[in-house]
């Protein structure tokens, strides 16, 4: 028998369910560790910024949240497309599990951006190219989530969501370019988020540690949600009934 790991091994909901269950506690642990390290570095070691004082320390969560929001969107669109193209249910379930976390990161990126913008630029919201694009990304997430929730037939919902996510992903560069054009054209918005403080190496390290923490956290919570979705959808399956957590005590 061939024991070499196959590419599609975890496409089977059972194996994913087991793997995700085993791995997510460790991922939470990794996230906590890296967050502690990153926050220590960011608050205790990194120096005060000359122009922005201590308010710049928001970047340690703002930038990771923004990065995660974009990475998760691509992952969501990618898995949804795989699920559609290869008719792999698990991939579509994973895409659905990714959406709420991605949307949350997007919202947090906007929220933390606003709290950084107020002391730095004097306004809670600026129509800066990157913040505006981030706002549109939030709309894309909400559109995906609304569409898949609205369709009762799971297969149709998965496929429609995949199409929408892929169209959205393809459009993201177009949207970003047009928003940047719009931003530079209207002279009033001379504010730019790219004018972040020059990064001392401690700041950069702290930011990278926090990014890893956010990544591990995202994996952990998405895995838990995906497990829930698997149980919701596959409740009729034999392997679900055979799971140890559903075995009656004293029954074979």
């Amino acid at each position: 028998m061939n024991y070499a790991p196959r590419f599609f091994t975890f496409a089977a909901p059972l194996r994913f369910y087991r793997l995700a269950g085993a791995v997510s506690p460790w991922l939470y642990g990794v996230a906590a560790l890296f967050a502690l390290a990153g926050l220590y570095m960011g608050f205790m070691v990194a120096p005060v910024d000359a122009t922005q004082g201590n308010s710049y320390r928001i970047i340690f969560i703002h930038v990771p949240a923004a990065w995660m929001s974009m990475v998760i969107y691509l992952a969501m669109a990618g898995w949804a497309a795989v699920g559609w193209a290869l008719n792999a249910r698990m991939a579509s379930m994973l895409a659905r599990a990714l959406a709420p976390t991605g949307a949350a990161y997007t919202f947090l990126a906007l929220w933390t951006g606003a709290f950084w913008g107020k002391p730095t630029w004097g306004a809670w919201w600026v129509w800066d190219a990157r913040l505006t694009s981030e706002l549109i990304l939030l709309f894309l997430y909400l559109g995906f989530m609304a569409l898949v929730e609205a369709i009762d037939d799971t297969r149709r919902a998965d496929q429609a969501g995949a199409l929408l996510a892929v169209v959205g992903a393809v459009n993201v560069p177009v949207i970003y370019f047009s928003v940047r054009w719009w931003n530079t054209l209207h002279q009033g918005a001379s504010i730019s988020m790219t004018a972040a403080p020059k990064m001392a190496s401690t700041m950069l390290t702290a930011m990278l540690l926090m990014t890893i923490a956010c990544w591990a956290y995202a994996f952990a919570v998405v895995f838990v949600r995906a497990r829930a979705i698997v149980l919701e959808r596959e409740a009729e399956a034999e392997w679900v009934r055979a799971l140890p957590e559903f075995k009656e005590k004293g029954m074979p």
């Binding site: 559109g143 609304a146 369709i151």
Partner: protein, 220 residues
């Protein structure tokens, strides 16, 4: 090709039997645009400045209005399935439906826009640019919108879902369409905007019918 022409003729004929339904987007367009001065104040300089943006946003919303009926009528009486299973390629069907949406929604908006231009006291040169930008931009909106309509076919909140899905994708068209007029107003050339509108139209003409055909296959 013949089938596309037949689809177009059919949609136009059906619309002419319900003129009030067909005119609703235009009426919504004019009414909504007229609300802005009431909210913002009648100061002419302000209105002239914000007019391109207002007209464009209202055009966007009006063309989205008529989208949920684009395929719904054909779906409920079975003719959509007929179209998709016939010899005509689904992509051609999607393209023809997008054209019919533009004829019935986009074109009337373009024709009504000079009136709004006058309401906002835009100079004739800017009105001309506004009409031109809408002429180049509304077909893209119809193409993107038909994708939204196909994805949400038969769903309860289809109208709202279409808005949520299509509006973010239409933002580039909005930016360059309104920007074309606004940049001219401040003395900058608007050529770039028109080229980009053209590019967006080309991209959506190539991509949207294909995606819409896939969406129809998913939804039907």
């Amino acid at each position: 090709m013949n089938a596309c022409w037949i689809i177009l003729q059919r949609d136009v004929r059906l619309a002419s039997r319900r003129p009030s339904d067909a005119l609703m987007p235009v009426v919504f367009f004019v009414v909504t645009a007229s609300l802005f001065p009431l909210g913002v104040g009648p100061e002419p300089a302000t209105l002239r400045q914000i007019a391109p943006g207002i007209v464009w946003v209202c055009a966007l919303l009006s063309s989205m209005l008529s989208l949920n009926t684009l395929y719904a009528g054909d779906y409920s009486d079975g003719s959509l399935e007929q179209m998709l299973t016939s010899n005509t390629h689904p992509v051609a069907v999607a393209g023809a439906k997008a054209v019919s949406h533009w004829l019935l929604s986009g074109l009337p908006l373009i024709l009504a826009s000079p009136v709004l231009g006058l309401l906002f006291d835009l100079p004739p040169s800017q009105i001309a640019l506004l009409v031109a930008s809408l002429a180049l931009g509304t077909p893209t909106l119809s193409l993107l919108g038909s994708l939204g309509a196909a994805l949400t076919l038969g769903l309860r909140n289809a109208a709202l879902l279409i808005l949520l899905i299509v509006l973010p994708l239409s933002i580039p068209v909005l930016i360059f369409g309104a920007g074309a007029v606004a940049s001219y107003a401040v003395g900058l050339p608007s050529d770039g905007h028109f080229y980009l509108l053209g590019a967006l139209l080309l991209l959506s003409a190539l991509g949207a019918p294909v995606a819409t055909a896939a969406a129809l296959r998913i939804s039907v």
